[in-house]
């Protein structure tokens, strides 16, 4: 394989792994906002316990997701130096906004939320979670703005052999950005809903004594999924006219490119249908007493993740052979490094990412099995206080 192929494969793998963590982070933080708001207003202990339990899972996933994000960020400079050289002035602006306004603040607010548990006024503590959620979605906003520029470059002027920033607001009203942002946001909320449903179902399968706790969690998960999926599908289909206008040859980029798109749509439709069918079964806990739907809920946990990866494959492969559509070809942006160096980093990072994903899964599984009540030994150093 050439340096370009290896660098592309590495980018695809890094992004996919990173995206799995991001989806769950965004989905869970939205649900945490609901749970902690209810706790802060009502003061009911069950809401506090819910915030703690799901908060622990959220923090574990966040801390491991950061690592994949760091590798993502370095990768631009390591393997794609041509992108910064040519378009750093424009593409770099939303990217730097993301690191500064969103990530830098997000993780700091989250840190104070974690260590401030029980030590801060509860309204102050709640507002920290709101700030964390807000900056988390700001991350998605800026990253999608940067990606939208790659799909359909706007707001630039050509100056010699580089691009300069001409109109920043054009980047933010870019149709390939705005249409996709909503799709990504609702995808992450769907991930959160399906995840919460599945984990709660697992506890009912195990005949948990925490009936009230997981009953509330399961209902919240199902209702969230049912509310998010129609908007998710709507925002998805709303992108087709934008694609037809700005990237008319997207579906011809690879002969098999229709397959991931098709699978994504099928998964989205299925989740919508199933979540709406489940809603009436929440009455008198029919869905829990029937038991077999519980198994389907557990099996369903990976589905929205898979769909999201398929969606990304379609969006990114469909842009080829361009890195910046119509301006910079992918093969012209790759760094002047030996293919062997890229191969080495590809092998190292891919194996480490597999380790990370397994670690994440193992730690979450450990936290899930222990249930809502904290045992003296914490599952991860960041959740000691939770």
């Amino acid at each position: 394989m050439s340096a370009v192929d290896l660098a592309r494969l590495q980018f695809a793998l890094t992004t996919s792994f990173h995206f799995l963590f991001v989806l769950l982070t965004l989905g869970l933080v939205t649900l945490l906002v609901i749970m902690q708001t209810r706790f802060t207003i009502t003061g009911a202990p069950v809401h506090e316990r819910m915030t703690r339990f799901w908060g622990r899972i959220y923090v574990i996933n966040y801390a491991l997701g950061i690592v994949t994000g760091i590798v993502m960020e370095f990768q631009f400079g390591l393997n794609w130096s041509g992108l910064a050289t040519y378009a750093g002035d424009v593409f770099g602006a939303p990217l730097a906004m993301e690191t500064l306004i969103a990530f830098f603040l997000e993780s700091t607010f989250l840190g104070l939320w974690i260590f401030g548990w029980g030590r801060l006024n509860r309204w102050v503590h709640l507002s920290l979670l709101y700030l964390t959620a807000l900056t988390a979605f700001a991350s998605a906003f800026w990253i999608m703005a940067a990606n939208g520029f790659l799909q359909h470059p706007v707001g630039y002027r050509v100056d010699g052999n580089v691009l300069r920033l001409d109109d920043f607001s054009a980047l933010l009203s870019n149709p390939t950005f705005t249409s996709a942002l909503m799709h990504v946001i609702f995808a992450s909320i769907t991930v959160g809903g399906v995840f919460m449903t599945g984990i709660s179902a697992y506890h009912f399968i195990k005949r948990t004594p925490e009936v009230d706790f997981f009953r509330r969690s399961l209902r919240l998960g199902v209702v969230t999924t049912a509310l998010a999926t129609p908007s998710l599908i709507g925002a998805g289909f709303a992108q087709f006219p934008v694609i037809a206008q700005y990237q008319p040859h997207k579906t011809e980029a690879a002969p098999w490119i229709g397959a991931p798109l098709g699978f994504m749509i099928i998964i989205g439709m299925t989740l919508t249908m199933v979540s709406w069918l489940t809603l009436p079964l929440l009455i008198k806990d029919a869905v829990i007493r029937m038991r077999f739907p519980l198994y389907l809920m557990v099996i369903g946990i990976p589905l929205p993740f898979v769909a999201a990866i398929f969606g990304w494959l379609f969006r990114e492969i469909g842009r080829q052979p361009w890195l910046i559509y119509g301006l910079l070809r992918t093969e012209d942006a790759v760094s002047h490094v030996d293919a062997s160096q890229i191969l080495l980093s590809l092998i190292v990072f891919t194996s480490l990412f597999v380790v990370l994903a397994v670690t994440d899964w193992a730690l979450i599984a450990r936290a899930v099995r222990r249930g809502p009540d904290v045992t003296p030994a914490p599952v991860s150093p960041l959740v000691v206080t939770l």
Binding site: E73, F76, D89, G116, R164, S345, L382
Partner: protein, 207 residues
Amino acid sequence: METLWLVVLGTLTVGYFALAGFDYGTGLLLPFRRREIALQRMNPFFLGNEVWLVAAIGVLFAAFPRLEGELLSGAHSTFTLVLAGLVLFMAAVQLRLWWWLVFMGALMVSVGWGLFLAHLLHAPWPVAFVMPVLFAVHGWVFQARRWKVFPVTALLCALPIPLAFSSIDVTGLMAHNDTLGLLAWVAIPIIPLVVLVQWSIVAISSR
């Protein structure tokens, strides 16, 4: 504008390396200290430094776009080592199965940064061991609570790489003023805010 962005980048890089001594230093000392207590003391600082690194690379990309690619791809294998060490360290600290993995991760990151220092200075490779030694000393000062020398060792960890960095001539490598002006509105108020909140984290967790 040029000086302003060098200061911003310098501050972020100093922030990362000054905080890096807490956890990589602790990791390097694990074979010689009571591990449970050492790791517990590190808790409020864990991940606190990495956010500075992410911000620094973001600023490097947007404000110095023609430097970023050359700098990183020019030391490709060194950064592979740094990042591999980072991933290993962060996963191992959280998993807490084998303490020597934490040590290995810390060693890889700090030797990696040392190699980068040697690369920047065009110095022979044994210079690479400067960074692990500095991190270990700082980690010891932190763990042994020698607060008087603490600012000194923190500075010693923080300064080598930003100083070596300043030997690079950035003329013609920076972004246009249109980009820099826009980002200045964001970068300048955010740094003191993060310092304040991170300080509160440490203050609140030691209460």
